[in-house]
Symmetry: C2
Amino acid sequence: MSFEKVVEIAKRRGFFYPGSEIYGGISGFWHYGVVGTLLKKKIENEWRKFFVKEEGFFEIEGSNIMPKDVFVASGHLQSFSDPIVQCKKCKALFRADKLIEEQAGIFLPEKTSVEEFNRIIKEKNIKCPKCKGELGEVRFFNLMLKVEIGPEKSEIAYLRPETCQAIFVDFLNVYRTSRAKLPFGIAQIGRAFRNEISPRQALLRQREFTQAEAEIFFNPKNENLDAEKFEKIKDYKLNIWNEKQNQITTEEFSQKIKSKLVAYYLAKIQQFMERIGIPKENIRLRELGEDEKAFYAKYAFDCEVKTQIGWIEVVANNYRSDYDLSSHMKLSKKDLSVVEEKEKEKIIPHVWEISQGVDRTLLCVMLQHYHEKEERGWEWFSFPPKISPYVAGVFPLVSKDNLPNKAKEVFEILKNKFDVFYDENGSIGRRYARADEIGTFLGITIDYQTIEDNTVTLRNRDTTKQIRVKIQNLVEIIEKLINKEIEFEKAGEAV
Amino acid sequence: MSFEKVVEIAKRRGFFYPGSEIYGGISGFWHYGVVGTLLKKKIENEWRKFFVKEEGFFEIEGSNIMPKDVFVASGHLQSFSDPIVQCKKCKALFRADKLIEEQAGIFLPEKTSVEEFNRIIKEKNIKCPKCKGELGEVRFFNLMLKVEIGPEKSEIAYLRPETCQAIFVDFLNVYRTSRAKLPFGIAQIGRAFRNEISPRQALLRQREFTQAEAEIFFNPKNENLDAEKFEKIKDYKLNIWNEKQNQITTEEFSQKIKSKLVAYYLAKIQQFMERIGIPKENIRLRELGEDEKAFYAKYAFDCEVKTQIGWIEVVANNYRSDYDLSSHMKLSKKDLSVVEEKEKEKIIPHVWEISQGVDRTLLCVMLQHYHEKEERGWEWFSFPPKISPYVAGVFPLVSKDNLPNKAKEVFEILKNKFDVFYDENGSIGRRYARADEIGTFLGITIDYQTIEDNTVTLRNRDTTKQIRVKIQNLVEIIEKLINKEIEFEKAGEAV
């Protein structure tokens, strides 16, 4: 299975690996190595460019630990839980829904009751997968991680299970300090924490993970979305999936759901996934049914990516109505409503949420661009140049005759402009292979001709074709190749 | 006091503010608003450029939650604690060392024993500052924040109290996957958590904070520092402070402490502080005395910044010897030693640590560049252009006659290249003042002449001088002004 192979190469080449591995670790915590940190930061920066720079969202950075009241208001303390069941014999604990899925092939919605779980376990004769023992009663287990603060540990706080609560509690501050006008977005990239019962599939279900979230606040009576922005996107086709695939333009879809704003941001998230290298045919916006949505959600669409292990949810897109601001307003007794010039009435803005799992996105990008060993004798990744961990490797053909010094000169020219590495160990073929394994876009080789005429060979990872270019043009050529402004074969003459 | 004024403007303009403020919050947790997030990210990115790109350190990203064993090995579980004392009458809790400092003016070293604390409290007649009641016995209070993981909450883990433990447990993985050779650095920017007894002074003592840390691994018998790198820095003067100020070149100091590597990285951290806008005369490298250092530290230098409230420690620089790797090796029973080609013997590398408090650094930068209202009628910040939250504000002179549309065109040209904002509300003078308040480097005003000849006025925040430049040259001029490649007065003609 290529999923396992990707996890294996991720560990071997320093993309990601289990956290605190020398101690065996605790499952559900992964660390990013050198290559993975580069890839993750690039995906985060593309997201930031796309939503913060281009869409003009306001970015904030809240704390990971937040006081109890925040999660009383948000509803997490009451209802953010999974159904668990314990084996009466061996005492092992399992997620009830997953056991039923595995042993009876029944997929139960999130809202299933304890009684319903118990009934199905009995009816389908579900047993402990470890010892075949009889299972006890199902109960709900809260996924929040508690932290006790202060010298007497008297202040109860929680690690946030989603980053967005910081956005809601800071809403008024951002609105005021930024002199914002509806509609506007607040974004945040940061960690979230959940006490998952059975973490699994590497980065897919972790106990600590990174989210990139944006909450777009708007007036439901007058969305007031910038007409020019919508005009640019109106003919873009959305891959809506509602029991079957529907290709529909953003404009048509906006009419169907009676919201230009919702259609616009669905188009945007699909475009973002395309931008980081997921082909359109492998992206779908799956509309959630009534039994899958949170009770406050008017619409919800999961942006999913097709991979070797099936469709993976990477972005939850939810119409959260005014649920969050109203709940926080009620409990905090602070007025979180706004008065817009035109409306002259108090509004509690509604919220459209874009909640992206950064680690899942990274894993999908790796799965998408992974190539098996059979193809060219070694595994390789065809990441888009913009997010390739390293743009280029710099290689002296041999480790003698001053070639390493010349290669280091080239490396010094490039290193402050791009992520590049220098490697002089082993045969040049072996070095190309190692560079391919971590998805390095270009290979720059310094050979005897370089000493004579200051040209180097440039090797294209995707085609393995090579061209010769002048050192003085390297920076410009690499920039243009990253931005796809020139063709590789003609890069030597293009600048 | 300008410290209070800086905290006030930070709240008012969205630099930073108490976290979860609408619920009163828990002290010691702060959020960054829109302007503060921009400033913080820029400081982090300068650090990354300086140490990861230019010095070639390997960057990783570990988890915030780590298993108990990590902190058994690191010694945190046993000794990472503060002395606390409770009032027998009102039951309030205090840090014993701080009470003694406040009431008796005695500064006690970190290694002071419980007996010594109790003796001084009795001798100096230290009382409860709240109710004057008698104090109980001093005890040590561990600052680690515990998290219970798993469905039975049986796996004990902790939020890391310093980011560097992820670097130590990942050492071997980075060494192998990056084919690194000693000496090399591993860097990480991330959160750390401490259950401080009395959080105070805004960002200075928080319970959740951001660290930028680098651990440089080297062979103590043969440091093997790049000679060219040292050559470049050897005449640079270090501000060593050891009871008094000593200006000494990096080379001389390296001879004194018999380590080029230590002297080199002390110079580097001082240079970094200069790069983000702290003048050299306000930086010192204070050598810690025997009673202040951790027991494993051979040398330790706090990089401190002079501010309106005294010298603030922003970077701890520690020679940690092989303490960390040896401790983890012992407990994990994994071999963390390395064999370097030349040496042909097993080495447990020694470690030089650079541990920078990002929030403290940001606060020092704000204090350094803060200007009182008296100076020009409003408060302003003279941040270096490279780290100014916004490089420029774009302003139509008036909100009519098509000037806003023209201004928005200029804004669109600039927004993907720089952090810029658009503002058309209020008089132009008021808008300049608002831009100054958040340290915006340039003001770009679109007036009636713009419509005629496509020129705009460029206002320099620091001098309030204005020049006229062509729109088509704006990007280049701004880039050159940020990099200080041209003089402001001559910018119009310089490109």
